[in-house]
Symmetry: C2
Subunit: 412 residues, 2 copies
């Protein structure tokens, strides 16, 4: 079992106790609740609100050994994992390594436009955004560096929309009274989307509602905007150039690069082809799930890379392996149960699609809040997040805008 | 005004509104509640529980400008502060720069034995301690590196006692069920104190109680132990050598090195001599407070470097400056009001001295808890800390044991 994301944990939790010796390997010591990562990046929540130690989650499972380690390579025919300093043989393997930010062939952009996949990413973005305001305050009343208070978010999917909404609230409300020489509400938040509408996976009506709401909040939304190049504080698009001290990449995800080394056919996003039961072709005891698997769905679409899908695949892989261990022969195809999708736009605004139901506005926001709290691992985390949100809602003053290490001379 | 610690904030809060243009400079964007820093280092609390943005604390004070900057030098006669890229002239100055870890002439020990003065320090210690357990689990059942699960805490003052107690609880309770190949309760926590008793500032009876309680909890207390040298995972003392993957320095603090460059007489801990009203000799408009000032007290002792003292000095300096601004001539000497001292030893154990009252055990622990919550800046932080403590108390499962960036290949 490799990966302690939603898929990996769902596998562990749905596999019956004491029926196998399970080893769970992850390169982080925590499970990360990625859907709320944008709130860490925008100073609404803290590390420990959205990350939970894997060992704590599984401490009751004496049959599961957790290893903090990174898989270096996998020998499929020999059934052997190469870890950083040891080797681990296996009978069954589930690949749930998750994804990394996809720069579509431009790895050099990462330096200037960080993505949002880990605690470290989120802390980096938070520090950089907050430091830009600090630098503007320090250099005022002299002319500040061009674009110091501009923030460009690239990608109009759920992450980009949530980031942009959250950033505009940070500048318009949270930081409003904090500075004396600059006016934080003058910060420009620019959201670039390559397609013709935001949230392309949602119905068109909700995309339009999202765009209007963001614009009312103060976000500059630019549709059909394609990025030509990104360099230090500079971004070149088909609609002109922008200067911005903060450029955030929310435009795509691809599977962990380790998948590409397996010799299994994969799509451009690095997801490997799997059989209907999620096992790899030719390797009936090896499964790939979540962002690592390319699984067809209705209307020629693929099962989307969202946490409910990963969790369902994890549970399915557990059932398949259990059947094999019990020498039952049936191979059941995985069937995705679409629970809908949702995105929050800002305080009290969200959009949600649940089956045929389309929600927007306050009701969708309440639904979003409830769903995220229910799925957030760990009771303590739920309470803490609820408390933070409660405070934000009442007072617009998230308590998490700490720059852990902010030497004054560090330049963004 | 330089420094947003307890002294600097007390100055700002006690200086009347709109009577002066106040600039508060700190190299961090947050005020840090240092008395609870050890809980961050031992995974009991999170960054944002004990750090609060300075701007948020002072957002109502339109007369106070906060700058995230680092003072490079101070020209006392010219009344000029050199910041990282600008200069700032002043009429009055209060030096409240706080302290740094004191290695007593052995700066090379810092690399191997981190101190505990900043968020970064605490996060470094936490990651290193947790990674040692992870590495032991990874290398088991093979023989682990010698001393991997040993933790040596140097210094038997309040910080050292609190660290040792907290670490032994981490290994004996919090992590107890988290590993499969190693037994975390086998970790050795060794507390070294150079003097003949722990908590030398406390009455002897409480020192003895502290030692006994720590030993019952599983800490090895070594008194009269002096450190000869520290290198990578190695420490040489007059009582023999120890191997330990984690060595934590809690043996001393000295004033910010900037003070030494002022040309004002200072003691070995870097605290400058001040007049009875806390101003610098020869500079009636410049004050030093908190850990930056050497202030005589009763019985040939000095006012201790604790937060209540810093806060009282901050308020006093504000009164002195106000008097000068109003051309009142009186210079009042600073008089320290000793509110007592306390240290927590572990879950439900603490010692406290308040005037003639000596407390130990559960009652002292409740007092300790109450006092720390009252003084913790920010209502939200109080709630969050209370919640964390509540969970620890009920379930022994602090939720904060996250390694923000834990690549498996990073070696401690």
């Amino acid at each position: 079992m490799v990966g302690a994301g939603f898929g990996g944990l769902a596998f562990c939790q749905s596999f019956p106790k004491d029926r196998a010796e399970i080893t769970l390997i992850d390169r982080q010591n925590h499970h990360l609740f990625q859907p709320l990562l944008y709130q860490l990046a925008t100073a609404g929540l803290s590390d420990s609100d959205i990350a939970h130690p894997v060992r704590a989650i599984l401490s009751q499972r004496r049959d599961i050994t957790v290893l903090l380690d990174e898989v270096q390579s996998i020998d499929l025919p020999k059934k052997l994992l190469q870890l950083s300093s040891t080797q681990l043989p296996f009978d069954y393997l589930v690949l749930a390594l998750g994804g990394v930010t996809n720069y579509f062939g431009h790895p050099e952009w990462e330096e200037h436009a960080p993505g949002l996949k880990s605690l470290q990413d989120a802390n980096r973005i938070r520090s950089s955004v907050l430091l830009a305001f600090e630098q503007a305050e320090n250099s005022a009343p002299a002319q500040a560096e061009a674009g110091l208070l501009n923030i460009v978010v690239i990608g109009g999917g759920a992450t980009g929309v949530e980031m942009a909404g959250s950033l505009v609230e940070l500048s318009r409300h949270v930081l409003r009274r904090d500075f004396r020489r600059i006016d934080p509400t003058q910060a420009r938040i620019i959201l670039l989307e390559g397609g013709s509408r935001l949230l392309p996976a949602m119905p068109e009506k909700l995309s339009e509602y999202t765009r209007k709401t963001l614009e009312q909040m103060g976000v500059e939304v630019r549709l059909n905007a394609t990025v030509k190049s990104i360099s230090h504080h500079q971004i070149e698009t088909n609609q002109g150039n922008l200067e911005a001290a903060n450029i955030i990449w929310a435009a795509g995800v691809k599977a962990n690069p380790l998948l590409a080394k397996l010799g299994i056919p994969a799509d451009p996003q690095g997801r490997v082809e799997v059989l209907p039961n999620l096992s790899l072709p030719g390797y009936p005891t090896i499964f790939a799930i979540g962002d690592n698997a390319r699984v067809p769905w209705k209307d020629k679409k693929l099962v989307p890379g969202v946490s409910p899908a990963a969790m369902q695949m994890g549970a399915h892989a557990a059932q398949e392996i259990l059947a094999q261990m019990e020498s039952r022969t049936r191979q059941k195809p995985f069937i995705y149960w679409d629970k809908g999708s949702m995105a929050t736009i800002g305080r009290t605004h969200a959009v949600a699609q649940i089956a045929q139901l389309k929600l927007q506005g306050f009701l969708a926001w309440v639904a979003w809040l409830g769903v995220h709290l229910i799925f957030l691992v760990g009771f303590r985390n739920k309470l803490s997040v609820l408390m933070n949100w409660g405070f934000s809602y009442l007072a617009y003053r998230p308590g998490a805008r700490i720059i852990p290490n902010s030497p004054a001379h560090s330049r963004i």
